[in-house]
């Protein structure tokens, strides 16, 4: 054999020992794992600090806080308002979002659908303070007339009992602004699910002579149901936590009512925090933080349910970033 004298031939790269290389690899792994663990730490921090600062607010006696009520009496109307406004937003946004997603996926040419989808994504990027500004200065004023009409013609329903607000800054207006804000989110997810409908099934339905709507009803909607439910709940989670739009649009008085168009409206947890926080002091601050903790728990539950439903569809890749 020719290689008798070279058991391990010298190679250019052999100068660096394996130990050194391993160190670099280990450092890099350590860095990335550390970052991942920092996520855990941050979330734990959120829970711990909110609880630590919130508990004094929960146990505070009524005369120590600005609201002059026990924590439960203070927070429950806010919880109602939060859930109520988010529900209104969802009821308005969901059908619209699904219809918009169907429109851009199945009713216009592909390229145009792409562009329109992008325009809708842009709507999702508008800062919430701009939505608030628009809702307060533009939408509310436009809705005064319709609200008066609703009171006059549908006033027998408790929702429209009135008296109609003269400013239009009602819980329904807030719900509409929230709906405009979450509509793009639900649309994005619905589009994603529709896009994943097997083309084979769609073509099979069309080949059987189905009209476009029959194809959508028999193939697309059943296939996308869990995705749409998940998307709706993500939108709901977003609406629950939205602060500025509600704080700016709503003229709140903290009552519990289903009346949609009157000038006395329930407030929401986030809006209440935003409006009260800078003037608050002492235990009132702690009470506000505790209400934030309640909000955190509610949104967590909703998002958790949403993820569970969305993740049932394994290949689902999530909404646009």
């Amino acid at each position: 054999m020719t290689d008798t004298s070279t058991p391990s031939p010298p190679r250019g790269a052999a100068e660096q020992g394996p130990a050194k290389r391993r160190l670099a690899d280990r450092v890099f792994l350590g860095l990335s794992k550390g970052a991942a663990l920092a996520i855990v730490a941050i979330l734990a921090g959120v829970a711990i600090f909110l609880t630590a600062e919130g508990i004094p607010g929960i146990t505070a006696s009524p005369d120590e806080v600005k609201s002059g009520e026990t924590f439960l009496a203070f927070v429950l109307p806010l919880v109602f308002g939060t859930l109520w406004s988010a529900t209104l937003a969802l009821v308005i946004a969901l059908p619209l979002a699904v219809a918009v997603a169907l429109f851009v996926t199945y009713y216009v040419p592909r390229r145009l659908g792409h562009t329109l989808g992008y325009v809708i994504d842009l709507l999702a990027a508008v800062p919430s303070v701009v939505f608030g500004l628009w809702g307060m200065r533009v939408l509310a004023g436009k809705l005064v007339g319709p609200y008066e009409w609703l009171e006059a013609h549908l006033g027998f329903l408790p929702f429209f009992a009135g008296p109609a607000s003269a400013t239009g800054r009602t819980i329904l207006t807030a719900g509409i602004v929230l709906a405009v804000m979450i509509m793009p989110i639900i649309t994005a997810i619905a589009r994603e699910v529709f896009r994943q409908t097997p083309v084979l099934l769609e073509e099979a339905a069309l080949a059987l002579g189905a009209t476009r709507w029959e194809m959508i009803r028999t193939v697309v909607l059943p296939h996308g149901r869990s995705g749409m439910i998940g998307g709706a709940m993500l939108g709901l989670g977003r609406a629950l936590g939205e602060t500025m739009a509600v704080a700016m649009v709503l003229s709140a008085s903290g009552v519990v009512t289903f009346n949609l168009i009157s000038s006395t409206n329930p407030s929401t947890i986030p809006a209440n925090i935003a409006l009260q926080f800078n003037e608050a002091s002492g235990l009132t601050v702690n009470a506000l933080i505790a209400s934030g903790l309640v909000l955190f728990v509610i949104t967590f539950a909703v998002n958790f349910a949403a993820r569970a439903i969305v993740n049932r569809r394994k290949e689902f890749s999530g909404a646009n970033a």
């Binding site: 450092v27 920092a38 918009v100 429109f103 508008v126 628009w134 935003a274 800078n278 909000l295 967590f300």
Partner: protein
């Protein structure tokens, strides 16, 4: 779509028994025609008779939504008619959804553009009463706080994504982290603000307001967005490239830094830009952690700072006397904020468009 040519029809029976393929149909462009009719009708009612705009539009819409399906029912039959009805409804829903977008863009532009003077960009609100003043201090505050946020959350998010894709796999820790990132994505922005406040209170006492606290709050909001988008992008890098590098005797960390990250770079930059665009408009956490001030403050660690979103909010909510100049400034700041967000979105799309590796896989 591979449609093979249909076999020649069997002609066992007499041709007379073949069913006709012709069925009465509305003309091809009837949907478009209906739209035109609706528009004409609406303008006639509005301009001609002087009906208010909204009822006029509703009337025009009603004609189409009832007329087209009824016509279709008479000519084409029930199924077709229902299909057309749904088409009209879905299209109307889209048009309805576009109204707020157009309205927002229009009002912000209309009210904001007149405010955008050179003075508006170069003056703070220090010692300004009534007219004048600008957003110089708020622009600086937004830039500084957003930069501090990015400095914290981009490395954190990117490294976490690297861990999840390159090291974690389907392990238990990786699954836990993915779940927690999902939880974090759902944290309401005001809660993130409360967290930052509660954290800083421990060190600085009640009533603390400083830029860095706002940056911490925004980091809580931005990091999960960076993780999710980066994870998605890193997963798009074909495994074959990693293997090619390993087979060349390249250590893992170098493979990640020199092969995986460059390949995914366009997507990563896009995701980070969109994440910045998302947090730059956040108002609530900054309102309770940073507050607002009239002067320019360059120090993230000392006291209140002005930011564009909070400036917009406080200008409209507590305008002072007279209110008009303040409200005008709110529109101006809102327009600037929108422009920044739109530009960031545009940049993100352009990065994807121009810098994705053009490999034909």
């Amino acid at each position: 779509m591979s449609t093979t040519a249909p076999p020649a029809p069997k002609r066992d029976d007499a041709p007379a028994q073949l069913r006709s393929w012709h069925h009465p149909q509305l003309p091809r462009r009837s949907g478009l025609a209906a739209l035109v009719i609706a528009v004409v009708l609406t303008s006639a009612l509005h301009a001609g008779i002087g009906l208010a705009l909204v009822p006029a539009i509703l009337a025009g819409w009603a004609v189409v939504v009832i007329g087209l399906p009824v016509l279709s029912y008479a000519v084409e039959g029930r199924r077709k008619a229902f299909d057309r009805l749904i088409t009209v409804i879905v299209s109307s829903a889209f048009a309805l959804a576009m109204i707020p977008l157009v309205s927002i863009l229009w009002t912000v532009l209309k009210n904001g553009l007149p405010v955008l003077t050179p003075e508006f960009f170069s003056y703070s609100m220090r010692n300004v009463v009534g007219e004048g003043g600008g957003i110089y201090h708020a622009i600086w505050g937004t830039v500084l706080i957003t930069a501090a946020t990015a400095v914290m959350s981009v490395p954190l998010g990117l490294l976490t994504a690297i861990y999840l894709v390159e090291y974690g796999g389907d392990g238990r820790l990786a699954k836990t982290i993915r779940f927690l990132v999902d939880v974090m994505t759902g944290i309401p922005s005001i809660v993130a603000g409360l967290f930052a406040y509660a954290l800083f209170v421990v060190f600085f006492g009640p009533g603390v307001r400083m830029g860095i606290a706002g940056a911490v709050a925004l980091t809580v909001l931005m990091t999960p967005v960076v993780v999710r988008s980066s994870e998605e992008m890193l997963q798009l890098v074909p495994n074959e490239l990693r293997e090619a590098a390993y087979a060349l005797g390249v250590p893992r960390w170098r493979t990640i830094v020199k092969v995986v990250l460059p390949t995914a770079m366009a997507g990563l930059v896009t995701g980070i830009t969109l994440a910045v665009a998302r947090v730059i408009g956040e108002t609530a956490p900054l309102l309770i952690t940073v507050g607002i001030t009239d002067s320019t403050n360059f120090n993230l660690f000392d006291g209140r700072m002005a930011t564009l979103p909070v400036f917009t909010y406080s200008s409209i909510m507590s305008p002072g006397v007279p209110p008009e100049p303040s409200i005008a400034r709110a529109w101006g700041a809102a327009l600037v904020l929108m422009l920044i967000v739109m530009v960031l979105n545009l940049v993100a799309r352009l990065v994807t468009y121009f810098f994705s590796p053009k490999d034909k896989r």
